[in-house]
């Protein structure tokens, strides 16, 4: 395809992405390298319906001068990345020197917000992604064997976890797993432990978030696999059968290879989405037990004083980690591209 034709075909799409994603990313990266100006603080008297109190406030006139000098803020370089609320370089270094033994070092590390968020995020990604793919695969195989006229409703119900608005879908589950909710009571009955409460224990909360993650994204894997199964070459299957291949061998040597490209696609999307896990943590009020990088960004932007540079730094770190996670898949795509010429 000619360069000019290519240009006009991709132009609208690229324009949108540049304007609404690339430029914001540039500004986010810039933001993460600057911190705010020094704020001149003065003591004043504040009065209101509840009387007067001595308090501090920002001296706007004095701060204005500093602001005019450096409109972007104060150059911070990588300081924000290295501070305690992010990579905590100094804290980690001193913990490495001062801790007695690896377990102690681990505990110190887990006490730092970035590393405890990473611990959960990585565990979540590592557990949920393969389970989603496996569950989706088996659902697809099972749905594929259902009588044709029942398939419509079956597909709809299988897709429900994905299409019910996550905002409320996870809230409803949260109410159901409450110790007095139907699922919570069911769990107590199953484990024969009337004091069991999912929301009170960190391991159970992690487990619940992961179960929710698998439940929520299995439909995506399912629908992609289900479609893939429609194109499995029946001739090859029959040939394999005549050759005496068992049922499992047919799945292993014919169906699964056919689905490999789909798996790559699902893995790519799921790795990225799971790494950015956020909604369930908010809906399940799980912040006491588990946090993620996206939750940290939300927290920075949601407070009374917004931490723009901190949120920007965490966002850049998120992009970098996603790129690292996806690199094997990307290298594969690169090679595919090379062979197509």
């Amino acid at each position: 395809m000619k360069h000019s034709t290519f240009f006009w075909f991709v132009f609208p799409s690229v324009l949108l992405m540049i304007a609404f994603i690339a430029l914001p990313i540039v500004s986010v990266v810039t933001q993460s390298l600057y911190s705010k100006h020094e704020q001149v603080i003065i003591v004043v008297e504040n009065c209101g319906p509840f009387g007067c109190t001595q308090s501090t406030t920002v001296d706007q006139a004095a701060t204005e001068a500093l602001r005019a000098e450096e409109p972007l803020g104060k150059w911070a370089g990588l300081d924000i990345y290295k501070d305690r609320n992010h990579l905590a370089v100094n804290e980690v270094a001193s913990a490495w020197v001062n801790s007695d033994g690896l377990p102690d070092f681990g505990r110190t590390l887990m006490n730092l917000p970035f590393y405890s968020a990473m611990a959960f995020t990585l565990t979540y990604t590592a557990v949920v992604t393969p389970l989603t793919i496996i569950l989706g695969f088996f659902i697809a195989i099972a749905v594929n064997s259902v009588a044709r006229r029942l398939r419509g409703p079956t597909i709809f119900f299988s897709l429900l976890p994905m299409i019910v608005t996550p905002l409320v879908g996870s809230l409803i589950l949260f109410w159901m797993v409450d110790a007095r909710g139907i699922l919570g009571t069911g769990l107590q009955w199953l484990t024969n432990d009337p004091s069991l409460s999912v929301k009170a224990s960190t391991p159970l909360m992690w487990a619940m978030l992961m179960v929710y993650g698998v439940w929520h994204s299995a439909p995506f894997a399912f629908i992609v696999y289900y479609a893939g199964l429609q194109t499995v070459n029946t001739d090859t299957l029959e040939a394999a059968m005549i050759d005496g291949a068992s049922r499992w061998e047919r799945i292993r040597y014919v169906v699964i290879p056919h689905l490999v490209p789909l798996t790559t696609f699902i893995a790519l999307i799921q790795l990225m989405d799971n790494f950015r896990v956020f909604e369930p943590i908010v809906s399940f009020a799980a912040a006491a037990h588990a946090t993620s990088l996206s939750y940290a960004i939300f927290n920075d932007l949601g407070g009374e004083t917004r931490l723009l540079s901190s949120a920007a730094a965490t966002s850049v770190l998120t992009i970098i980690f996603v790129a690292i996670l996806l690199s094997p898949v990307l290298v594969r795509t690169w090679r595919d591209f090379g062979t197509q010429k």
Binding site: K36, F50, T53, T57, R84, A179, R180, N299, D300, L307
Partner: protein, 412 residues
């Protein structure tokens, strides 16, 4: 005497204002008016009255996300929003970013009748006009306290004693409630408790945090002691969930927002024995400092800086009409603890009024309080879960706050 005179005058002016608004068909103010604020009913009433005054072109954007958009919406020139309805915690962001104007001249010219107590001043300059108050205070079950023969608690120590008795009597397993959800709610409870111990959050006149002291430890220990009597899920219970627990009859004592007690005492959502016995009382104390362990809150309106004087006048007039005594009627009276003249307190408001009467501290209007609040919300759960010592938690909070304050230019 002068106060009395002012008030009568004020009422007269307000009446005049109302008549002229009616006579003119619309518009008691000429100019652009655009409101951003939270969405609860009291604010809806204020905004509706302000819009009625400002005419057809005026707009209001009332949403729970108001705090995320008000700074951006007032930064441009001209600002998208000519007024933001804020609380004492959220006005700070607007002052820090220098997007709201001093109302001194407007008050002098058009608002002489606004009672002094509604004016919020910072360094002598009027920055906002408050119209309602709120506070957290004790809510209790009269029947349960009668059963164990206890008086209404006035301190958290009393609450612990009563909770012990209730549990021993087998009435409830988890008699204490509280909005202890990790994050904003939990930080708010610590703020209450720490103020109750008489602690100071910052070294005077600076942005340096100083909560890692015995008062901080005392506050944390009291919170942990209380949490022993709470539902084991307490770290996930925000004020919604805590109220739901109350309505289910699982809780007998809790520290709750005055603005939420109305629905606890109505006949919806709970059994008669719960709502009939739900009573409110003043704030609790902790230790022997004598300071109530609660914070007072106001909601009020501001005027944007980056707008023309004409629009500022129109906005001021419209918002003044929106928060005038005229808006009080049978429907709006119960929506909040109004600060306007003519408000008749009801039974549900007793808790907030008692908190004000007890001389509770307002939530600190300090530029960096929000940063500390976030740091508190992120770290206290570690201690309450028994993962680390109180001192370690307080040190973590200080470190997290310091990093954030440095990034925001409050510390060097």
């Amino acid at each position: 005497m002068t106060i009395m005179k002012n008030l009568t005058l004020g009422t007269a002016f307000a009446a005049l204002g109302a008549t002229s608004a009616l006579a003119g068909g619309h518009a008691c103010a000429e100019g652009r008016v655009s409101i951003v604020g939270n969405e609860f009913p009291a604010i809806q009433s204020v905004a509706a009255a302000a819009l009625e005054c400002a005419g057809d072109t005026a707009e209001a954007n009332l949403t729970a996300d108001h705090q995320k958009i008000n700074v951006a919406g007032m930064t441009g020139n001209p600002a998208e929003y000519t007024t933001a309805i804020v609380a004492n915690s959220s006005i700070v962001a607007l002052i820090n970013e220098d997007v709201i104007r001093s109302l001194d001249d407007l008050v002098a010219e058009h608002g002489a009748d606004i009672p002094q107590q509604q004016l919020i001043t910072v360094d002598g300059k009027v920055m906002a006009v408050a119209f309602m108050a709120n506070a957290q205070h004790l809510v209790y079950r009269e029947d349960v306290l009668e059963q164990i023969g206890a008086d209404v608690p006035t301190s958290y120590e009393d609450v612990l004693a009563a909770a012990q008795q209730i549990r021993e009597a087998g009435i409830m397993e988890h008699p204490v409630g509280g909005a202890y959800a990790a994050g904003w709610n939990l930080a708010q409870e610590f703020t209450n408790m720490y103020i109750g111990t008489g602690g100071e959050f910052f070294k005077p006149g600076t942005a340096e945090v100083s909560i890692n002291n015995e008062k901080g430890v005392e506050a944390l220990e009291m919170m942990k002691a209380l949490s022993e009597y709470m539902n084991p899920d307490f770290l996930t219970h925000d004020s919604n969930a805590t109220s739901a627990e109350w309505e289910a009859g699982n809780v007998a004592l809790m520290n709750m927002w005055g603005s939420r007690t109305g629905v606890l005492m109505d006949d919806e959502g709970s059994a008669p024995e719960v709502y009939e016995n739900t009573k409110v009382s003043g704030p609790l104390t902790v230790g022997d400092s004598g300071v109530p362990a609660t914070t007072l809150w106001w909601d009020g309106w501001t005027v944007a800086k980056n707008i023309s004087d004409e629009d500022a006048v129109a906005t001021f007039k419209a918002m003044k009409a929106g928060s005038s005594p005229d808006i009080l009627n049978d429907e709006t009276m119960s929506q909040a603890v109004w600060l306007m003249e003519g408000f008749q307190p009801q039974e549900v408001n007793e808790g907030v009024l008692a908190s004000v009467a007890a001389g509770s501290a307002p939530y600190p209007m300090v530029p960096f309080q929000g940063l500390l609040h976030t740091a508190l919300g992120d770290n206290i759960a570690d201690y309450l879960q028994g993962n680390e010592s109180a001192e370690q938690t307080l040190a973590d909070i200080e470190a997290a706050y310091t990093a954030a304050a440095r990034e925001n230019g409050f510390l060097q």
